[in-house]
Amino acid sequence: MPSHDVTLEWINGPTRTVAVDADETVLQATERAGGTLPYGCRTGACGTCVGRLLEVDGVTKADDRTGDGRAVDVDDAFTYRRAPRALKPRHQDDGYVLLCIASPRADCRVAVGSQVQSELVDNPWK
Protein backbone atom coordinates (compact mmCIF):
# COMPACT_ATOMS: atom_id res chain seq x y z
CA MET A 1 0.00 0.00 0.00
CA PRO A 2 1.66 3.29 -1.08
CA SER A 3 1.72 5.93 1.60
CA HIS A 4 2.85 9.54 1.92
CA ASP A 5 4.24 11.42 4.87
CA VAL A 6 1.99 14.22 6.02
CA THR A 7 3.62 16.52 8.56
CA LEU A 8 1.01 18.15 10.80
CA GLU A 9 2.06 21.47 12.35
CA TRP A 10 -0.08 22.92 15.10
CA ILE A 11 0.23 26.72 15.11
CA ASN A 12 2.43 27.61 18.10
CA GLY A 13 2.37 23.93 19.00
CA PRO A 14 3.87 20.55 18.26
CA THR A 15 4.69 18.95 14.92
CA ARG A 16 3.91 15.35 14.04
CA THR A 17 4.48 13.32 10.88
CA VAL A 18 1.94 10.66 9.96
CA ALA A 19 2.26 8.07 7.20
CA VAL A 20 -1.05 8.17 5.34
CA ASP A 21 -2.03 5.30 3.06
CA ALA A 22 -3.55 6.13 -0.31
CA ASP A 23 -6.90 4.66 0.70
CA GLU A 24 -7.33 6.56 3.95
CA THR A 25 -7.87 10.19 4.91
CA VAL A 26 -5.42 12.30 6.88
CA LEU A 27 -7.89 12.29 9.80
CA GLN A 28 -8.20 8.49 9.77
CA ALA A 29 -4.43 7.99 9.60
CA THR A 30 -3.85 10.48 12.43
CA GLU A 31 -6.37 8.64 14.61
CA ARG A 32 -4.84 5.27 13.68
CA ALA A 33 -1.49 6.63 14.84
CA GLY A 34 -3.03 7.62 18.17
CA GLY A 35 -3.24 11.34 17.42
CA THR A 36 -6.16 13.73 17.16
CA LEU A 37 -7.30 16.56 14.94
CA PRO A 38 -10.41 18.71 15.37
CA TYR A 39 -13.33 17.39 13.34
CA GLY A 40 -17.11 17.58 13.10
CA CYS A 41 -19.17 16.00 10.34
CA ARG A 42 -16.41 13.81 8.82
CA THR A 43 -18.10 14.29 5.44
CA GLY A 44 -16.59 17.59 4.20
CA ALA A 45 -19.58 19.80 5.02
CA CYS A 46 -18.65 21.64 8.21
CA GLY A 47 -14.99 22.71 7.93
CA THR A 48 -13.97 21.83 11.50
CA CYS A 49 -11.06 19.65 10.31
CA VAL A 50 -9.58 22.20 7.93
CA GLY A 51 -5.80 22.44 7.47
CA ARG A 52 -3.66 24.85 5.45
CA LEU A 53 -1.16 23.37 3.00
CA LEU A 54 2.38 24.69 3.61
CA GLU A 55 4.59 22.49 1.47
CA VAL A 56 4.31 19.82 -1.25
CA ASP A 57 7.28 17.55 -2.01
CA GLY A 58 9.63 20.03 -0.36
CA VAL A 59 8.28 23.05 -2.29
CA THR A 60 6.76 25.96 -0.35
CA LYS A 61 4.99 29.16 -1.39
CA ALA A 62 8.28 30.98 -0.88
CA ASP A 63 9.79 28.81 -3.63
CA ASP A 64 7.21 29.94 -6.15
CA ARG A 65 8.98 31.36 -9.21
CA THR A 66 5.96 31.53 -11.51
CA GLY A 67 4.30 34.37 -9.64
CA ASP A 68 0.91 32.68 -9.91
CA GLY A 69 1.00 31.48 -6.32
CA ARG A 70 0.23 27.92 -7.39
CA ALA A 71 3.48 26.33 -6.23
CA VAL A 72 1.58 24.86 -3.31
CA ASP A 73 -1.56 23.58 -4.95
CA VAL A 74 -4.01 21.42 -3.00
CA ASP A 75 -4.75 19.52 -6.21
CA ASP A 76 -1.09 18.44 -6.40
CA ALA A 77 -1.09 17.26 -2.79
CA PHE A 78 -4.46 15.64 -2.16
CA THR A 79 -7.35 13.80 -3.72
CA TYR A 80 -10.81 14.17 -2.22
CA ARG A 81 -13.23 11.33 -1.59
CA ARG A 82 -16.10 13.70 -2.20
CA ALA A 83 -16.54 17.41 -2.89
CA PRO A 84 -15.21 19.71 -0.12
CA ARG A 85 -18.52 21.54 0.40
CA ALA A 86 -17.33 23.56 3.40
CA LEU A 87 -14.66 25.35 1.37
CA LYS A 88 -15.27 28.20 -1.04
CA PRO A 89 -13.08 28.51 -4.16
CA ARG A 90 -11.06 31.28 -2.45
CA HIS A 91 -10.25 28.91 0.42
CA GLN A 92 -9.09 26.20 -1.95
CA ASP A 93 -6.95 28.71 -3.87
CA ASP A 94 -5.36 29.70 -0.55
CA GLY A 95 -4.38 26.11 0.17
CA TYR A 96 -7.05 25.12 2.67
CA VAL A 97 -7.87 21.42 2.71
CA LEU A 98 -10.49 19.32 4.52
CA LEU A 99 -8.53 16.58 6.26
CA CYS A 100 -11.60 14.41 6.97
CA ILE A 101 -12.05 13.64 3.26
CA ALA A 102 -8.53 14.24 1.82
CA SER A 103 -5.92 11.57 0.99
CA PRO A 104 -2.38 12.66 0.10
CA ARG A 105 -0.82 12.19 -3.36
CA ALA A 106 2.58 13.54 -2.22
CA ASP A 107 4.58 14.14 0.92
CA CYS A 108 3.40 17.42 2.37
CA ARG A 109 3.32 19.74 5.36
CA VAL A 110 0.01 21.11 6.69
CA ALA A 111 -0.86 23.68 9.37
CA VAL A 112 -3.58 22.17 11.58
CA GLY A 113 -5.62 22.84 14.71
CA SER A 114 -8.58 24.99 15.61
CA GLN A 115 -6.78 28.25 14.76
CA VAL A 116 -6.70 27.26 11.08
CA GLN A 117 -10.49 26.92 11.07
CA SER A 118 -10.86 30.45 12.43
CA GLU A 119 -8.85 31.76 9.44
CA LEU A 120 -11.66 30.80 7.02
CA VAL A 121 -13.90 33.71 8.02
CA ASP A 122 -13.41 36.91 9.97
CA ASN A 123 -15.73 39.40 11.61
CA PRO A 124 -17.27 41.15 8.57
CA TRP A 125 -18.16 44.31 10.47
CA LYS A 126 -14.88 44.94 12.26
Binding site: W10, G13, T36, P38, Y39, G40, C41, R42, T43, G44, A45, C46, G47, T48, V50, R82, A83, R85, A86, L87, K88, G113, S114, Q117, S118, L120, V121, D122, N123, P124, W125, K126
Partner: protein, 466 residues
Protein backbone atom coordinates in the same frame (compact mmCIF):
# COMPACT_ATOMS: atom_id res chain seq x y z
CA UNK B 1 -57.62 40.58 16.67
CA UNK B 2 -58.82 37.81 18.92
CA UNK B 3 -56.51 35.75 21.06
CA UNK B 4 -59.06 32.97 21.33
CA UNK B 5 -58.91 32.27 17.65
CA UNK B 6 -59.87 28.61 17.68
CA UNK B 7 -60.42 26.97 14.32
CA UNK B 8 -60.97 23.43 15.53
CA UNK B 9 -63.26 22.17 18.22
CA UNK B 10 -61.83 20.13 21.08
CA UNK B 11 -63.56 17.01 19.82
CA UNK B 12 -61.92 17.52 16.44
CA UNK B 13 -58.54 17.77 18.11
CA UNK B 14 -59.18 14.50 19.93
CA UNK B 15 -58.47 16.18 23.25
CA UNK B 16 -61.61 16.77 25.29
CA UNK B 17 -60.73 19.11 28.13
CA UNK B 18 -64.21 18.98 29.58
CA UNK B 19 -63.31 15.46 30.61
CA UNK B 20 -59.57 15.94 30.84
CA UNK B 21 -57.69 12.93 32.09
CA UNK B 22 -54.17 13.86 33.05
CA UNK B 23 -52.31 10.59 33.57
CA UNK B 24 -49.20 11.22 31.50
CA UNK B 25 -46.22 13.56 31.44
CA UNK B 26 -46.18 17.29 32.00
CA UNK B 27 -49.09 19.43 33.10
CA UNK B 28 -52.72 19.66 32.04
CA UNK B 29 -52.47 23.36 31.19
CA UNK B 30 -49.83 26.11 31.11
CA UNK B 31 -51.43 27.55 34.25
CA UNK B 32 -51.06 24.15 35.95
CA UNK B 33 -47.37 24.21 35.01
CA UNK B 34 -47.03 27.50 36.90
CA UNK B 35 -49.08 26.41 39.91
CA UNK B 36 -48.03 22.77 40.32
CA UNK B 37 -44.33 22.94 39.47
CA UNK B 38 -41.63 23.30 42.07
CA UNK B 39 -38.69 25.63 41.76
CA UNK B 40 -35.98 24.31 39.38
CA UNK B 41 -33.12 22.77 41.38
CA UNK B 42 -31.22 21.24 38.45
CA UNK B 43 -30.50 22.29 34.90
CA UNK B 44 -29.28 20.25 31.98
CA UNK B 45 -26.96 22.38 29.85
CA UNK B 46 -25.17 21.61 26.60
CA UNK B 47 -21.37 21.72 27.05
CA UNK B 48 -19.00 21.82 24.08
CA UNK B 49 -15.39 21.18 23.14
CA UNK B 50 -15.98 20.81 19.41
CA UNK B 51 -13.76 23.01 17.27
CA UNK B 52 -11.12 23.49 19.96
CA UNK B 53 -7.80 21.70 20.44
CA UNK B 54 -9.08 20.09 23.63
CA UNK B 55 -9.28 16.39 22.85
CA UNK B 56 -12.59 15.74 24.59
CA UNK B 57 -16.16 15.00 23.52
CA UNK B 58 -19.05 17.39 24.09
CA UNK B 59 -21.14 16.74 27.20
CA UNK B 60 -24.45 17.35 28.91
CA UNK B 61 -23.77 19.24 32.14
CA UNK B 62 -25.94 18.79 35.22
CA UNK B 63 -25.94 22.14 37.03
CA UNK B 64 -27.07 22.53 40.64
CA UNK B 65 -29.60 25.38 40.88
CA UNK B 66 -30.67 24.79 44.49
CA UNK B 67 -29.60 27.83 46.55
CA UNK B 68 -29.70 25.68 49.70
CA UNK B 69 -27.28 23.12 48.28
CA UNK B 70 -23.57 23.00 49.04
CA UNK B 71 -22.92 22.59 45.32
CA UNK B 72 -25.12 25.53 44.21
CA UNK B 73 -23.87 26.96 40.88
CA UNK B 74 -21.61 23.96 40.28
CA UNK B 75 -21.58 21.41 37.49
CA UNK B 76 -22.31 18.29 39.56
CA UNK B 77 -22.19 15.77 36.72
CA UNK B 78 -21.20 15.59 33.06
CA UNK B 79 -22.58 13.04 30.61
CA UNK B 80 -19.88 12.71 27.98
CA UNK B 81 -20.79 11.83 24.42
CA UNK B 82 -19.19 8.68 22.93
CA UNK B 83 -17.44 10.55 20.10
CA UNK B 84 -15.93 13.98 19.53
CA UNK B 85 -17.08 16.56 17.04
CA UNK B 86 -20.79 16.68 17.83
CA UNK B 87 -21.50 20.38 18.47
CA UNK B 88 -24.29 19.73 20.94
CA UNK B 89 -26.67 22.62 20.43
CA UNK B 90 -30.40 22.16 21.10
CA UNK B 91 -32.11 19.19 22.75
CA UNK B 92 -35.52 18.07 23.92
CA UNK B 93 -37.65 15.50 25.70
CA UNK B 94 -39.19 12.22 24.62
CA UNK B 95 -42.53 13.43 26.02
CA UNK B 96 -44.05 16.68 27.25
CA UNK B 97 -47.44 18.16 28.17
CA UNK B 98 -48.77 17.51 24.66
CA UNK B 99 -48.97 13.86 25.76
CA UNK B 100 -50.33 14.61 29.24
CA UNK B 101 -53.31 12.30 28.56
CA UNK B 102 -51.14 9.27 27.67
CA UNK B 103 -51.06 6.98 30.66
CA UNK B 104 -47.69 5.38 31.34
CA UNK B 105 -45.67 7.81 29.22
CA UNK B 106 -42.92 9.62 31.15
CA UNK B 107 -40.80 12.71 30.59
CA UNK B 108 -37.59 10.85 31.17
CA UNK B 109 -35.36 10.68 28.11
CA UNK B 110 -33.46 13.59 26.62
CA UNK B 111 -32.87 13.50 22.87
CA UNK B 112 -29.51 15.18 22.31
CA UNK B 113 -28.46 15.74 18.68
CA UNK B 114 -25.00 16.61 17.39
CA UNK B 115 -25.38 19.56 15.03
CA UNK B 116 -22.12 18.86 13.15
CA UNK B 117 -21.87 15.10 13.55
CA UNK B 118 -25.55 14.26 12.87
CA UNK B 119 -25.25 11.73 15.70
CA UNK B 120 -28.36 11.55 17.90
CA UNK B 121 -27.99 10.58 21.56
CA UNK B 122 -30.61 9.48 24.05
CA UNK B 123 -29.99 10.15 27.74
CA UNK B 124 -32.02 8.53 30.52
CA UNK B 125 -32.63 11.01 33.36
CA UNK B 126 -34.31 8.57 35.73
CA UNK B 127 -31.65 9.55 38.24
CA UNK B 128 -31.80 13.27 37.67
CA UNK B 129 -28.42 14.09 39.15
CA UNK B 130 -26.75 11.15 37.46
CA UNK B 131 -28.25 10.77 33.97
CA UNK B 132 -26.97 8.06 31.65
CA UNK B 133 -26.40 7.77 27.93
CA UNK B 134 -28.54 4.81 26.80
CA UNK B 135 -28.92 4.99 23.01
CA UNK B 136 -26.96 6.37 20.07
CA UNK B 137 -28.22 6.75 16.51
CA UNK B 138 -25.13 6.90 14.30
CA UNK B 139 -24.80 9.53 11.54
CA UNK B 140 -24.83 6.91 8.78
CA UNK B 141 -28.35 5.87 9.86
CA UNK B 142 -29.49 9.49 9.58
CA UNK B 143 -27.82 10.05 6.18
CA UNK B 144 -29.85 7.12 4.78
CA UNK B 145 -32.87 9.43 4.87
CA UNK B 146 -30.90 12.11 2.97
CA UNK B 147 -30.88 14.34 6.04
CA UNK B 148 -28.21 15.81 8.32
CA UNK B 149 -27.58 18.44 11.00
CA UNK B 150 -30.36 17.75 13.54
CA UNK B 151 -31.55 20.81 15.41
CA UNK B 152 -34.86 21.22 17.24
CA UNK B 153 -36.38 18.32 19.16
CA UNK B 154 -40.06 18.28 20.09
CA UNK B 155 -42.06 15.36 21.34
CA UNK B 156 -45.12 14.67 19.27
CA UNK B 157 -48.33 13.63 21.07
CA UNK B 158 -48.46 9.88 21.83
CA UNK B 159 -44.74 9.32 22.28
CA UNK B 160 -43.13 10.05 18.93
CA UNK B 161 -40.27 12.52 18.51
CA UNK B 162 -39.68 14.97 15.68
CA UNK B 163 -36.37 16.63 14.82
CA UNK B 164 -35.81 19.47 12.40
CA UNK B 165 -32.93 18.60 10.08
CA UNK B 166 -31.09 21.48 8.44
CA UNK B 167 -29.41 19.73 5.55
CA UNK B 168 -29.45 16.77 3.20
CA UNK B 169 -26.89 13.97 3.53
CA UNK B 170 -24.27 16.21 1.88
CA UNK B 171 -24.89 19.15 4.23
CA UNK B 172 -26.59 20.98 1.38
CA UNK B 173 -30.28 21.74 0.84
CA UNK B 174 -33.02 20.69 1.22
CA UNK B 175 -33.40 19.94 4.90
CA UNK B 176 -36.47 18.32 6.38
CA UNK B 177 -37.81 16.51 9.43
CA UNK B 178 -36.85 13.16 10.96
CA UNK B 179 -39.27 11.18 13.10
CA UNK B 180 -38.27 8.75 15.86
CA UNK B 181 -40.60 6.22 17.45
CA UNK B 182 -40.97 5.73 21.20
CA UNK B 183 -38.16 3.13 21.12
CA UNK B 184 -35.83 5.87 19.78
CA UNK B 185 -35.55 4.24 16.38
CA UNK B 186 -35.78 6.21 13.17
CA UNK B 187 -39.35 5.93 11.93
CA UNK B 188 -38.59 7.81 8.73
CA UNK B 189 -38.90 11.16 7.17
CA UNK B 190 -41.88 13.03 8.57
CA UNK B 191 -42.73 15.14 5.54
CA UNK B 192 -42.72 14.46 1.82
CA UNK B 193 -39.23 15.56 0.60
CA UNK B 194 -39.12 18.92 -1.12
CA UNK B 195 -41.70 20.75 1.00
CA UNK B 196 -39.00 23.19 2.10
CA UNK B 197 -35.42 24.09 1.20
CA UNK B 198 -34.02 25.72 4.36
CA UNK B 199 -34.95 24.68 7.87
CA UNK B 200 -34.11 25.64 11.43
CA UNK B 201 -36.50 25.77 14.39
CA UNK B 202 -40.16 24.81 14.58
CA UNK B 203 -43.07 24.90 17.01
CA UNK B 204 -46.45 23.24 16.62
CA UNK B 205 -49.85 24.26 17.98
CA UNK B 206 -51.85 21.03 17.66
CA UNK B 207 -55.29 22.38 18.53
CA UNK B 208 -54.90 24.76 15.58
CA UNK B 209 -53.47 21.95 13.39
CA UNK B 210 -50.52 24.20 12.61
CA UNK B 211 -46.75 24.16 12.77
CA UNK B 212 -44.43 27.06 11.92
CA UNK B 213 -40.82 26.46 10.87
CA UNK B 214 -38.00 28.94 10.26
CA UNK B 215 -34.81 29.10 8.17
CA UNK B 216 -31.08 29.33 8.90
CA UNK B 217 -29.11 28.07 5.88
CA UNK B 218 -27.52 24.91 4.51
CA UNK B 219 -25.08 23.34 7.02
CA UNK B 220 -22.27 23.73 4.48
CA UNK B 221 -23.05 27.47 4.51
CA UNK B 222 -23.33 28.27 8.24
CA UNK B 223 -21.12 25.59 9.81
CA UNK B 224 -17.72 26.87 8.53
CA UNK B 225 -18.65 30.35 9.87
CA UNK B 226 -20.62 33.46 8.97
CA UNK B 227 -19.67 34.92 5.59
CA UNK B 228 -21.44 38.11 4.51
CA UNK B 229 -20.93 37.02 0.89
CA UNK B 230 -23.38 34.18 1.57
CA UNK B 231 -26.02 36.68 2.70
CA UNK B 232 -25.53 38.66 -0.52
CA UNK B 233 -25.82 35.42 -2.49
CA UNK B 234 -29.18 34.63 -0.87
CA UNK B 235 -27.85 31.60 0.96
CA UNK B 236 -29.43 32.61 4.28
CA UNK B 237 -33.12 32.28 5.02
CA UNK B 238 -35.83 34.90 5.43
CA UNK B 239 -39.02 32.83 5.32
CA UNK B 240 -41.49 31.22 7.69
CA UNK B 241 -43.30 28.06 6.65
CA UNK B 242 -46.80 27.37 7.91
CA UNK B 243 -47.57 23.66 7.92
CA UNK B 244 -50.66 21.50 8.16
CA UNK B 245 -49.63 19.65 11.30
CA UNK B 246 -51.69 16.53 10.61
CA UNK B 247 -50.65 16.20 6.98
CA UNK B 248 -47.03 17.35 7.22
CA UNK B 249 -47.37 19.67 4.25
CA UNK B 250 -46.56 23.35 3.83
CA UNK B 251 -49.75 25.36 3.39
CA UNK B 252 -48.22 28.81 3.27
CA UNK B 253 -44.79 30.43 3.08
CA UNK B 254 -44.28 33.94 4.40
CA UNK B 255 -41.31 35.91 3.07
CA UNK B 256 -40.19 38.28 5.81
CA UNK B 257 -37.97 40.21 3.39
CA UNK B 258 -34.79 42.07 4.32
CA UNK B 259 -36.20 42.94 7.74
CA UNK B 260 -36.50 39.23 8.47
CA UNK B 261 -33.07 37.81 7.66
CA UNK B 262 -32.19 34.57 9.47
CA UNK B 263 -35.44 33.92 11.35
CA UNK B 264 -34.37 31.59 14.15
CA UNK B 265 -36.37 30.64 17.25
CA UNK B 266 -40.12 30.14 16.72
CA UNK B 267 -42.30 30.52 19.83
CA UNK B 268 -46.06 30.06 19.82
CA UNK B 269 -47.93 31.32 22.86
CA UNK B 270 -48.38 28.43 25.28
CA UNK B 271 -52.16 28.54 25.45
CA UNK B 272 -53.42 26.00 22.91
CA UNK B 273 -56.19 28.35 21.87
CA UNK B 274 -53.83 30.95 20.46
CA UNK B 275 -52.54 31.31 16.92
CA UNK B 276 -50.12 34.05 17.97
CA UNK B 277 -46.39 33.66 18.18
CA UNK B 278 -43.04 35.35 17.68
CA UNK B 279 -39.88 34.68 15.75
CA UNK B 280 -36.57 36.48 16.13
CA UNK B 281 -34.88 37.52 12.88
CA UNK B 282 -31.30 37.42 14.12
CA UNK B 283 -29.35 39.08 11.31
CA UNK B 284 -31.89 41.87 10.75
CA UNK B 285 -32.11 42.32 14.53
CA UNK B 286 -35.90 42.33 14.56
CA UNK B 287 -38.67 40.33 16.21
CA UNK B 288 -41.74 39.43 14.16
CA UNK B 289 -45.22 38.69 15.49
CA UNK B 290 -47.18 36.09 13.52
CA UNK B 291 -50.84 35.23 13.81
CA UNK B 292 -53.75 33.71 11.90
CA UNK B 293 -56.42 35.97 10.45
CA UNK B 294 -59.19 35.09 7.98
CA UNK B 295 -57.76 31.64 7.36
CA UNK B 296 -54.17 32.61 6.67
CA UNK B 297 -51.10 33.46 8.68
CA UNK B 298 -49.54 36.91 8.66
CA UNK B 299 -46.29 38.25 10.06
CA UNK B 300 -45.35 41.76 11.08
CA UNK B 301 -42.22 43.30 12.54
CA UNK B 302 -42.98 44.43 16.10
CA UNK B 303 -39.55 44.97 17.67
CA UNK B 304 -36.56 46.56 15.92
CA UNK B 305 -33.16 46.72 17.59
CA UNK B 306 -30.96 49.46 16.16
CA UNK B 307 -27.32 48.78 15.29
CA UNK B 308 -24.80 50.69 17.43
CA UNK B 309 -21.51 52.38 16.63
CA UNK B 310 -18.46 50.84 18.28
CA UNK B 311 -15.05 52.58 18.32
CA UNK B 312 -13.22 49.36 17.37
CA UNK B 313 -15.59 48.32 14.57
CA UNK B 314 -15.66 49.68 11.00
CA UNK B 315 -19.39 49.21 10.67
CA UNK B 316 -22.32 49.58 13.11
CA UNK B 317 -22.70 46.49 15.29
CA UNK B 318 -26.03 44.67 14.88
CA UNK B 319 -27.79 43.56 18.06
CA UNK B 320 -28.20 39.95 16.86
CA UNK B 321 -31.22 38.77 18.89
CA UNK B 322 -30.43 35.08 18.70
CA UNK B 323 -32.88 33.62 21.22
CA UNK B 324 -36.37 34.48 22.43
CA UNK B 325 -38.90 32.79 24.71
CA UNK B 326 -42.38 33.44 26.06
CA UNK B 327 -43.18 33.16 29.76
CA UNK B 328 -45.51 30.32 30.71
CA UNK B 329 -48.36 32.78 31.40
CA UNK B 330 -47.87 34.25 27.88
CA UNK B 331 -47.39 37.69 29.40
CA UNK B 332 -43.76 38.42 28.60
CA UNK B 333 -41.38 37.86 25.71
CA UNK B 334 -37.75 37.53 26.81
CA UNK B 335 -34.71 37.56 24.58
CA UNK B 336 -31.01 38.12 24.20
CA UNK B 337 -28.98 40.46 21.99
CA UNK B 338 -25.79 38.46 21.69
CA UNK B 339 -23.55 41.06 20.08
CA UNK B 340 -24.75 44.11 22.00
CA UNK B 341 -24.76 42.32 25.35
CA UNK B 342 -28.35 42.62 26.53
CA UNK B 343 -31.21 40.55 27.89
CA UNK B 344 -34.63 42.11 27.58
CA UNK B 345 -38.30 41.55 28.43
CA UNK B 346 -41.33 42.91 26.62
CA UNK B 347 -44.92 42.86 27.80
CA UNK B 348 -46.78 41.01 25.03
CA UNK B 349 -50.26 41.08 26.58
CA UNK B 350 -51.18 42.61 23.24
CA UNK B 351 -48.93 40.54 20.98
CA UNK B 352 -49.26 43.00 18.09
CA UNK B 353 -47.87 45.78 20.27
CA UNK B 354 -45.07 44.57 22.54
CA UNK B 355 -44.13 47.08 25.23
CA UNK B 356 -40.55 47.14 26.50
CA UNK B 357 -40.65 46.35 30.21
CA UNK B 358 -36.99 46.15 31.22
CA UNK B 359 -33.54 45.07 30.08
CA UNK B 360 -30.09 44.31 31.46
CA UNK B 361 -26.88 45.51 29.85
CA UNK B 362 -24.50 42.62 30.48
CA UNK B 363 -21.57 41.10 28.59
CA UNK B 364 -21.14 41.44 24.85
CA UNK B 365 -19.59 44.41 23.10
CA UNK B 366 -21.61 47.11 24.88
CA UNK B 367 -22.68 45.60 28.21
CA UNK B 368 -22.32 47.86 31.25
CA UNK B 369 -21.62 44.79 33.38
CA UNK B 370 -18.48 43.05 32.07
CA UNK B 371 -17.66 40.84 35.04
CA UNK B 372 -19.54 38.84 37.64
CA UNK B 373 -17.77 37.83 40.87
CA UNK B 374 -14.52 38.99 39.24
CA UNK B 375 -15.06 36.63 36.27
CA UNK B 376 -14.70 38.58 33.04
CA UNK B 377 -17.54 37.83 30.62
CA UNK B 378 -16.17 36.77 27.24
CA UNK B 379 -19.41 37.02 25.24
CA UNK B 380 -22.98 38.29 25.26
CA UNK B 381 -26.15 36.60 26.51
CA UNK B 382 -27.36 33.94 24.11
CA UNK B 383 -29.62 30.95 24.99
CA UNK B 384 -32.21 32.00 27.57
CA UNK B 385 -34.39 29.87 29.82
CA UNK B 386 -37.06 31.01 32.27
CA UNK B 387 -38.38 29.34 35.41
CA UNK B 388 -41.95 28.06 35.06
CA UNK B 389 -43.16 30.66 37.59
CA UNK B 390 -41.54 33.40 35.50
CA UNK B 391 -39.34 34.71 38.31
CA UNK B 392 -35.83 33.60 37.30
CA UNK B 393 -34.21 34.07 33.89
CA UNK B 394 -31.00 32.18 33.12
CA UNK B 395 -28.74 32.40 30.10
CA UNK B 396 -25.53 31.06 28.58
CA UNK B 397 -23.13 32.81 26.22
CA UNK B 398 -22.13 30.54 23.30
CA UNK B 399 -23.94 30.78 19.96
CA UNK B 400 -22.15 28.30 17.68
CA UNK B 401 -18.49 27.35 17.89
CA UNK B 402 -17.36 28.81 14.57
CA UNK B 403 -19.45 31.98 14.98
CA UNK B 404 -18.16 32.41 18.54
CA UNK B 405 -14.62 32.39 17.14
CA UNK B 406 -15.51 35.24 14.76
CA UNK B 407 -17.27 37.56 17.16
CA UNK B 408 -15.96 36.49 20.58
CA UNK B 409 -12.61 34.69 20.09
CA UNK B 410 -12.02 34.78 23.86
CA UNK B 411 -14.99 32.44 24.44
CA UNK B 412 -12.82 29.49 23.35
CA UNK B 413 -10.01 30.46 25.73
CA UNK B 414 -12.15 31.33 28.75
CA UNK B 415 -15.24 29.19 28.27
CA UNK B 416 -18.85 30.21 28.68
CA UNK B 417 -20.70 31.33 31.76
CA UNK B 418 -24.27 30.72 32.86
CA UNK B 419 -25.85 33.74 34.54
CA UNK B 420 -29.19 34.58 36.13
CA UNK B 421 -31.49 37.52 36.63
CA UNK B 422 -34.37 37.79 39.08
CA UNK B 423 -37.61 38.76 37.37
CA UNK B 424 -40.52 40.56 38.97
CA UNK B 425 -43.42 39.69 36.66
CA UNK B 426 -45.78 42.01 38.52
CA UNK B 427 -43.56 45.06 38.07
CA UNK B 428 -41.97 43.88 34.83
CA UNK B 429 -38.39 44.24 36.04
CA UNK B 430 -35.11 42.37 35.69
CA UNK B 431 -32.25 42.40 38.19
CA UNK B 432 -28.92 40.67 37.71
CA UNK B 433 -28.22 38.15 40.49
CA UNK B 434 -24.54 38.78 41.22
CA UNK B 435 -24.46 35.74 43.53
CA UNK B 436 -25.16 33.38 40.63
CA UNK B 437 -22.34 32.25 38.33
CA UNK B 438 -21.71 28.90 36.67
CA UNK B 439 -18.27 29.03 35.10
CA UNK B 440 -17.77 26.56 32.25
CA UNK B 441 -14.21 27.84 32.06
CA UNK B 442 -13.44 25.77 35.15
CA UNK B 443 -14.25 22.35 33.64
CA UNK B 444 -11.55 19.75 34.38
CA UNK B 445 -10.54 19.19 30.75
CA UNK B 446 -10.41 22.91 29.98
CA UNK B 447 -12.75 25.79 29.12
CA UNK B 448 -16.02 24.63 27.55
CA UNK B 449 -18.76 26.47 25.69
CA UNK B 450 -22.34 26.30 26.99
CA UNK B 451 -25.51 26.45 24.96
CA UNK B 452 -29.15 25.40 25.56
CA UNK B 453 -30.62 25.01 29.08
CA UNK B 454 -33.48 22.72 30.19
CA UNK B 455 -35.20 21.88 33.50
CA UNK B 456 -36.03 18.24 34.32
CA UNK B 457 -39.77 18.97 34.61
CA UNK B 458 -40.20 20.97 31.44
CA UNK B 459 -39.57 24.63 30.76
CA UNK B 460 -40.83 27.58 28.75
CA UNK B 461 -39.47 26.27 25.42
CA UNK B 462 -40.06 22.52 25.78
CA UNK B 463 -43.78 22.03 26.30
CA UNK B 464 -46.77 22.26 24.00
CA UNK B 465 -50.44 21.81 24.94
CA UNK B 466 -53.27 20.20 23.01
Amino acid sequence: MSDANTNRSESESGHDHADHHHAGPGYATPQAAIEESERETLAYVMGLYVGTDIDEPDFVAVVDLDPDSETYCEIVDRVEMPARGDELHHFGWNACSSSCHVEGLERRHLIVPGQRSSRIHVIDTKDRRDPELVEVIEPEEVFEYDLSAPHTVHCVPDGKILLSMLGDADGELPGGFLELNDDFEIEGRWEPPGEIEMNYDYWYQPRQNVMVSSEWAAPATYQPGFDLEDVEDGKYGQQLHVWDWEEGTVEQTIDLGEEGLIPLEVRFLHTPESTHGFVGAALSSNVFHFWEEDGEYRAEKVIDFEAREHPDWDMPVPALPTDILISMDDRYLFGSNWLHGEVWMYDVSDPANPQRADSLSVGGHFGEVQEVQGRELAAGPQMVQLSLDGERLYWTTSLFSTWDDQFYPEEAERGSVMLKADVDPRKGTLELDEDFLVDFGECPAGPARAHEIRWPDGDCTSDVWQ
